[in-house]
Symmetry: C2
Subunit: 421 residues, 2 copies
Amino acid sequence: MSLIVQKFGGSSVADAESIKRVAKRIVETRKAGNQVVVAVSAMGDTTDDLIDLAHQVAPLPDPREMDMLLTTGERISMALLAMAIKSMGHDARSFTGSQAGMITDARHGAARIVDVTPVRVQEALDEGAIAIVAGFQGFNRDSRDITTLGRGGSDTTAVALAAALGAEVCEIYTDVDGVFTADPRVVKKAHKISRVTSEEMLELAAAGAKVLHIRAVEFARRHGVTLHVRSSFSPNEGTWVVTPTEGEVMEEPIITGVAGDLSEAKITVVGVPDTPGMAADIFTIVAETGANIDMIVQNVSAAATSRTDISFTLPKTDGEKVMTALRAAQPGLGFESLAYDDQIGKLSVVGGGMRTSAGVSAQLFTALKDAGINMEMISTSEIRISVVMRADILHHALQIVHTAFGLDGEAEAVVYAGTGR
Amino acid sequence: MSLIVQKFGGSSVADAESIKRVAKRIVETRKAGNQVVVAVSAMGDTTDDLIDLAHQVAPLPDPREMDMLLTTGERISMALLAMAIKSMGHDARSFTGSQAGMITDARHGAARIVDVTPVRVQEALDEGAIAIVAGFQGFNRDSRDITTLGRGGSDTTAVALAAALGAEVCEIYTDVDGVFTADPRVVKKAHKISRVTSEEMLELAAAGAKVLHIRAVEFARRHGVTLHVRSSFSPNEGTWVVTPTEGEVMEEPIITGVAGDLSEAKITVVGVPDTPGMAADIFTIVAETGANIDMIVQNVSAAATSRTDISFTLPKTDGEKVMTALRAAQPGLGFESLAYDDQIGKLSVVGGGMRTSAGVSAQLFTALKDAGINMEMISTSEIRISVVMRADILHHALQIVHTAFGLDGEAEAVVYAGTGR
């Protein structure tokens, strides 16, 4: 008997009808002879509604109480899901993060999993029941308080349970058929990828592919959990995300997919004195704000002035606090000015085969040049090349590049109703 | 420093504005130099909405999962209340029933409190924080599952905490000024009672007074907890519900108040063979349905037939299941027929002074006779007389009796907006 962990997001359990549909899907997996553990998100917009409510009673809600509040969301969906399954004649039991042994550190709102002890989940499985676990939440042993894992938390819950229970596969249900060579809402001829390495998936997620949360992919890679990203609206196979074991050789395509990201902004620190350690000073100040920096480019110093410009990209949501911190540090650092630009788009091409294939950068840059698209920043990893351009041209560039690398499918991709995630 | 337990019901925390108002009230109590523990219900109609949702996914929701679902209601309100208090600059910490040590038996949906170990609540108080506890919920040690206490559960949570923590008083906040000599929405000249014994309050609650739940009053009486029923909309003193200690003599008014109840129905078992043990057989069958029987009247047997009629009252909500059970037992019991009447009203007069004053029954019966009101059933306790009549005449009878016993106040009672409870 195989053990399968299934994760259903908020759009899959948005109302009573959806919950019954998901329950049926879970029961089918059970009837096929598998043990089933389910990680479930809060229904539809529940989490956002609760956040709104919190801000109505307190301008800066206490983080401990915020977690107490938000964790009700998954508790509602998991209880309803368990009821629905039971009323179909199958045994099911729901567990909060705490009951399922999701032990975290004490960082309310963004807790990290430090241990997973799913004793009660295992007991339920041993007794033949389907276990439904609240995604996104955990428990800190020292404070005895409830915590939440932050965005992408439910994916991470599912993967952590799959690792702790030794599941054969962790199925991530979503409203698209799997991972695509590009966002099918932007690139019409994007096609589903049937198999991708966790390393490539990590780069795709980091580059803006929304289908899987980067944190869950990283957890899966570290613990060797196989993911299967698939649609909750169809029985089709989705995308398998696999982690080759040491020594295992996989034939990887040169380019797996392209991804676009409009969520970042660019900050340029203009006229930085070109003295040793100045970049370190700047990025220490940035790090202290807790912001996640993505790309960094330092222009060559203009010899005449001994001054240089440093640009970096970061999530728009972190923009204000970083600008504020840098402005406060301006007298000490002695730079000339700051520029903030939130009209940028980032295009990335990802593929494990890049390691052994020369000329991918040249091919990308040529395709963009031929289309008259100007590149503002470039950064590369072993299996990814990212380029920053104007935001309004990103979608067009994604189409161009998708075609240039021969990724276009035969037909247009099917996009289901729903709002991504 | 005194310890005060305060209980706020669902209508007191129905929206963000109400929550902020309640938070302010709690903070005032804290600033007056008291330690404060708060038991809070779910916001407004949350519980009913969750029950609806459950019935949409499962016709007969699993009781364990129902409790998992419903307990989110108080968790939302307690977290919001704690946030609101913190944002006013006072320390506050919310606790679930489980965290607050409300240990119950395993009867999901109607659990009984078996132990209260509020260690974390006491810790919070010791550290100067206000403790906010979810009403209505507990935890079963054997199954490690979440339970709910059933209707009136939040009042009971408050009283149980007050008993366990040795609170000076347990304040029950409601949308009326306290306990009245009659329902002020029915009897315009009803006036607030400033002091009532827990025994009288118990009879009033059993007789239909909605302001306090009978279970909470009983818990308070057993543990000597003083209750103060008061309005969350005004700073006025409300009604003190006290339990005189052994030997303490209290001057009690002959009549404390009158109460009406339209929630009951009457079942008559017609033509019961007048043989020994027949009543026992009937009420064994009724008891097996779990219904709560109130009054029982057996008519004198008509000598010619050796048959008798037995009537009893019970909550309308239990009517159908009891009728079904009796119909099934008709062949065995050999009675002639069953009659169901849900158009009855029960009027009760309650007063501790009845014990030592003769003639109260006579006074009541005379008042009703003078008004042309027919009595269908009568039952009495040491400090209560209840009379069943036609439902449509109950409100008129309450006015008559309130006046007859000299309870009318000088002015009309103020009734706040709101729906009772």
